[in-house]
Symmetry: C3
Subunit: 436 residues, 3 copies
């Protein structure tokens, strides 16, 4: 890993560390505070969508305001305290302030018997109620029969908040990246995704690009539904999407396919992984997961894949206080970013070319494009040119050629550049069109 990569990994870790203590939920000040910090790094436009607005089958929910929460025992000691860890309150809990018996309190408590030191993460978004999460050890240590319970919270008419960065390209056709912003103090899920996307924006900002890239940082489910509903008339411009989340833990990178399983994005990401030397772990689409569920719904069907590391309960620390800063590494973050840069590179450069000298092979030697001594094996450089020439009959793209030849996309694309410069190729069209 290069020194620059190590440095970027450290910077991403620093961003995650700053965002970690904030108590986020699907709506509310925590999301606004998070987006404000991201806006220090990239040109972020924030949208507030008022409570009650109809978004497809849903309504924008009320905004959650949480000020304090605790449980005190008979002795007045705070035995559970939101100030100590914001996972202690079930997210989106109703306000409550009462003294109650242990028997009454018990159904409102959540803990993990198998991981007695971890606090679970629980939400109650669409069914009203309240609750506390605590470690099993804390729970076992609770004593006394009466408890004073306080959640100083309310649901108000406010708004749902999301942020967007748009990096314009030569055309209005868009590639959308989505990363969820609604989880409280969970480092991998999904401060890691937010950090990697933020730094990907920085990396792309300086380049000339064919496509427009849009990064959306919004809450899960209701956030992507809201964004899709508000942008419905523009969705036809979106070529493909990628949900980039949970990218910081030490597990291997894995790609989840779009619903069709054979969209352009479904070939691009595995190629980028392979070209970076990763064994490409590819999972078929399933309707459970993150925002790929909404982008891939039958009335939307934007071809959208997902890149993550140990996503969706694939790691024991998932949705618990153990998904903390120790779980994420600078190296993992930097490698995730490097793969995404490859993904963008393939999206930008993949195209369909036509061999203009397609009767037999053209004489590469007299154009200085071929090694000079016959009788020996040729290298990847020459092989890439032979492959591009042979396959450029108008029905194969550079990505097709990389897949067939076993060469990296970068080798194939470089060969196409050389042959284009030598006047042997014509660029027909970018290849995404044919894939959709």
């Amino acid at each position: 890993m290069s020194e620059a990569s190590v440095a970027r990994g450290e910077e991403m870790l620093a961003l995650i560390e700053r965002l970690y203590p904030i108590c986020r939920s699907i709506t509310g000040q925590g999301v606004r505070d998070t987006l404000a910090i991201i806006a220090e790094h990239v040109d972020l436009r924030v949208t507030e969508v008022p409570t009650g607005e109809q978004v497809f089958d849903w309504q924008v929910p009320r905004e959650w305001v949480i000020r304090d929460a605790w449980v005190k025992d008979d002795d007045g000691r705070k035995v559970i305290d939101f100030a100590a860890h914001n996972l202690h309150v079930v997210s989106y809990s109703d306000g409550v302030h009462r003294t109650m018996s242990r028997e009454e309190l018990e159904p409102h408590l959540h803990s993990l018997p198998d991981h007695p030191d971890w606090i679970p993460y629980r939400t109650s978004y669409y069914n009203r109620g309240w609750g506390f999460c605590l470690s099993q050890r804390q729970r076992d240590a609770l004593s006394g029969e009466r408890f004073e319970v306080c959640i100083d919270a309310e649901l108000i008419d406010g708004s749902l908040t999301y942020g967007e960065v748009v990096i314009p390209g030569e055309t209005d056709e868009e590639i959308v990246f989505y990363s969820h912003v609604c989880h409280p103090s969970l480092a991998n899920d999904n401060l890691a995704g937010l950090a990697v996307c933020t730094f990907l924006v920085q990396a792309l900002a300086g380049q000339r690009r064919r496509f427009t890239y849009r990064f959306v940082f919004g809450p899960g489910t209701i956030g992507s539904i809201t964004w899709l509903a508000r942008n419905e008339e523009r969705l036809g411009d979106i070529r493909m999407g990628l949900v980039a989340v949970l990218l910081g833990d030490r597990g291997p990178l894995r790609y989840k396919q779009s619903p069709s399983g054979d969209a352009h994005i479904d070939r691009i990401v595995p190629r980028a992984l392979a070209d970076r030397g990763h064994e490409a772990i590819v999972e078929p689409f399933s309707p459970y997961g993150y925002e790929e569920r909404q982008f891939g719904s039958p009335g939307i069907r934007i071809p959208t894949g997902r890149l993550s590391r140990s996503a969706n309960a694939g790691y024991p620390e998932y949705h618990s206080s153990a998904d903390n800063l120790d779980l994420v590494s600078g190296e993992s973050l930097a490698e995730s970013l490097a793969v995404l840069e490859r993904v963008v590179d393939i999206i930008e450069r993949d195209a369909c070319y036509l061999n203009l000298a397609g009767k037999g092979e053209p004489q590469l030697g007299r154009r200085g494009l071929y090694g000079d001594s016959g009788g020996k094996r040729v290298g990847n450089w020459e092989m890439a040119m032979l492959w591009v020439l042979n396959q450029s009959d108008g029905s194969h793209t550079l990505l097709d050629i990389a897949e067939k030849s076993g060469l990296t996309f970068a080798e194939v694309a470089a060969a196409a550049d050389n042959l284009l410069a030598a006047g042997l190729l014509e660029r027909l069209h970018d290849s995404n069109r044919k894939q959709q």
Copy 2:
């Protein structure tokens, strides 16, 4: 296995026991006697087709009448006796009554050197002749030089007999089950198939069904050819066929594909097997076997598969006296029947639906269709609904969804029923149409 299943297994065994002693052939009284017993259980219509009637490339053969048959040695002892086992006479033998030398007799004897206690089953339908089958031990014990040989049999102008049960449904479109009735005292081949089909008729009779189901009990080869020829103008109504034979032995259930290998029936039966917990053993079509040969012939091509256990020489007792009552088990029969009920269930319920709220996911929670605490894994119940919603874009059927999701067909179909009731789905058409 449920008590009801065990009871049904016993009833099927009892039916097989009653049918076992009858000497059946491709024509004649044995077939009529067999159908008469089946008619005690189900509403059977019997058809007699006169000898000589042209059926496609064939003519209905004469009817075989067998009264007695034996071989006596020098001492007048019956050394082979049809009265002891009806496999002793080659089926469809000509009559003969003569004294002859051992040398003359020998070419007319059939035995199994590798299984010295078993009597083989041999036929001589389309090449005139006569013969006796006997165990190798019997043969080795034959002594003397002269034998009196008697087969009191004749071929007369009569008829070929088959039986049919029709269970009408909401439409005239038919599903046909065929099971052969021509074999003499062989228990698995095919009294087992006849018993399972008879009890399947009983199970279906009480239900409301979309399709019409027809069960044909007729002789092999000439029987199905005769039935197809006599029903030629109606074949267009038949959606698919299933040959259900040899279903009583203790071997695993196995499915043989239709000629195309990708007909609707080719997906339905393996799904039913998998959903009942069987490892789905699927064999490609081959033009050797039972009535799937005729239903799958190029001028007919009704998509027809076959469900059997150890079919076609797949078990040592095949076509011998060892295919007797000991070979079949009530448990095997009951499980074969249970799988066929699943097959019918999938045929009836498979359909293509349209998600009416396809932009993003609909909010299942407010419709009471979703678990109430966020942050935890969802169960098969919710997954089935998410799968049906995501895939119901008009191009996937419930069977497609079961295959993709790894859920059972029943789980997926139940989810569709729930979503239909909630007004979130519309039924487009039953899915068989598109598969053909």
Copy 3:
């Protein structure tokens, strides 16, 4: 291996032995001498294409005339001598005659440190220069500081030479075999290919054939480009091509697919290999190799595969003096020839038939086409007929049927012949048409 095969193997070895000493290159007298010897066996037409003629992107190069070449040391001893082995001179070297220092000589010397006794084969076709090849041992033994270097060679305006044999068939549609003739004293690469093709011509000459077969013996790359350019208006008549080269070593036969990977030839050759009992080793197309590169170029795209044994650096002796007469065996040559005869047999006989009695199975017994005792297993003979009858619905060819059934092509084709003779089949068309 039959006695006749052994004899043919010996004859092919004898031809290779005669051709071995000739110094061939892409142009010049060596090619002419080689073709003259082949012309003693088959009816060869030789074409001379003048230097400078434009052929697609290339020009026909000048003709190489080599008379002598050597390097003498200080003592006047010839330390490298073309007369001893014609690999000693880099093929197509410019003339040179000068005394020079060892330092100046060194960059012009080529040897193989890993195989110290072998002389490498090197060419300098399209970059002017000169050089010597020698064994590493020879090189290590060079002593002294001054060397007299002489290559008595020149490039003259002359011609490029290729030979063709055409075996006319019932139609003008052609099958083309190509085997390169440009390598000097290398036995497997490609005197083996030339010998096998020559004897294949002899084998075909006596038969009645549907297709016209053309064998081209020409130089590599520029030879096939020249032949394609000169025959451009006729290329539409060519159904498929096969490059038949390097067929004499002791490695297994391997087939390299055409660019599409699913052309008719891509199924024919693996079938022929399997039917001769070979494990079919099939490699995907790659744009490196022999004349399949030119036949498969995007402006030509004649479906062309390649049959060889240890082609393209797949054996250590490749492109060195160790590719000598010891490397090739009569048995390998004879088996290569036998496989190619099967290939031609499939090309000739593959066709699509229609079952004229397709409603049910026709009654084979009364036509004498079926075994006479029922109840026993049927053999390949009957199975082949059942397969042909079942599949001959106008959409399957005999090759399809062989692939599906696991029977050999010969068994399936014989069944079709029988059924055709019995009036049960009609020949619709030869099957190549549909594959292209």
